[in-house]
């Protein structure tokens, strides 16, 4: 199973599209609210019409990105100073994203869910290390310093 994602994964209404095999014929659409359309065997034309994808998206659609650059956190009160590079992978039926910079992982049944999982996890880590900053060992102290370079609190 090859996964492809049409559109901007950070925008609302994102429609992840899974494509079986290396051609755009059968796919499952997972709507933004998590509900799924039935699997369907579609022509390339139908695929474009249903997914509202541009032909270029379809041409590139068989390839899941090897990396994504995360530009936002979901948590109010903090934001990223610069994008974080995430490596995209699969593990059984799950999509995973991994930050080597922070040794942090997110996963889900599709890329959008995996990214949201990562955003929650990173924000939780930031809050925890901030609260416990006076008793961090060398490794987590280094992580805390690196997090401060990337995340800032906003009023």
């Amino acid at each position: 199973m090859v996964a492809a994602y049409v559109g901007n994964v950070y925008s609302s209404g994102t429609i992840p599209v899974r494509i079986a095999g290396s051609t755009v014929r059968a796919f499952r659409v997972i709507r933004g609210d998590g509900s799924r359309m039935d699997d369907a065997a579609l022509s390339r034309k139908e695929f474009v019409q249903r997914s509202q994808a541009r032909p270029l998206d379809v041409a590139l659609g068989v390839a899941r990105p090897a990396e994504v650059r995360l530009g936002t956190l979901l948590t109010p009160g903090s934001r990223l100073r610069r994008p974080i590079t995430l490596t995209v992978g699969t593990d059984d039926i799950l999509i995973t994203v991994w930050s080597a910079e922070f040794e942090e992982l997110g996963y889900g049944t599709h890329l959008t869910e995996a990214i949201a999982d990562f955003q929650r996890t990173l924000a939780e880590l930031y809050r925890t290390l901030s609260a416990e900053r006076d008793r961090l060992g060398p490794g987590l102290l280094d992580t805390w310093h690196r997090l401060q370079l990337v995340i800032e609190d906003v009023p």
């Binding site: 992982l105 996963y107 416990e132 008793r135 060992g137 987590l140």
Partner: protein, 89 residues
């Protein structure tokens, strides 16, 4: 390849990890009142993906992580590894 939840829970027990109650389950290895390493067991159903990522979070190489899962590596052994890596301060 995935890691079974029961295997992760065995690590939590064996290393006496501190579990923080939140949406997911962040876990921290603490030593002499210092937080040393952290990992997380998501509350999502199913096995945990990317065991090699979890291994990196625990600061272990492949053989050490295998020993941790299969029991030869105990709490004292883990402390010795972290001390050797200079992670205990």
């Amino acid at each position: 390849m995935t890691l079974k939840r029961a295997e992760f829970d065995r690590i939590v027990t064996k290393l006496n990890l501190r579990v923080r109650q939140s949406g997911d389950l962040p876990v921290y290895f603490e030593y002499e009142d210092k937080m040393i390493v952290r990992s997380r067991r998501s509350n999502k159903q199913g096995d945990l993906p990317m065991p090699h990522a979890i291994r990196q979070q625990f600061k272990l190489d492949e053989d050490q992580f295998r020993d941790l899962l299969n029991c030869p590596l105990d709490y004292d052994g883990y402390v010795a590894i972290l001390r050797e890596k200079g992670l205990l301060g």
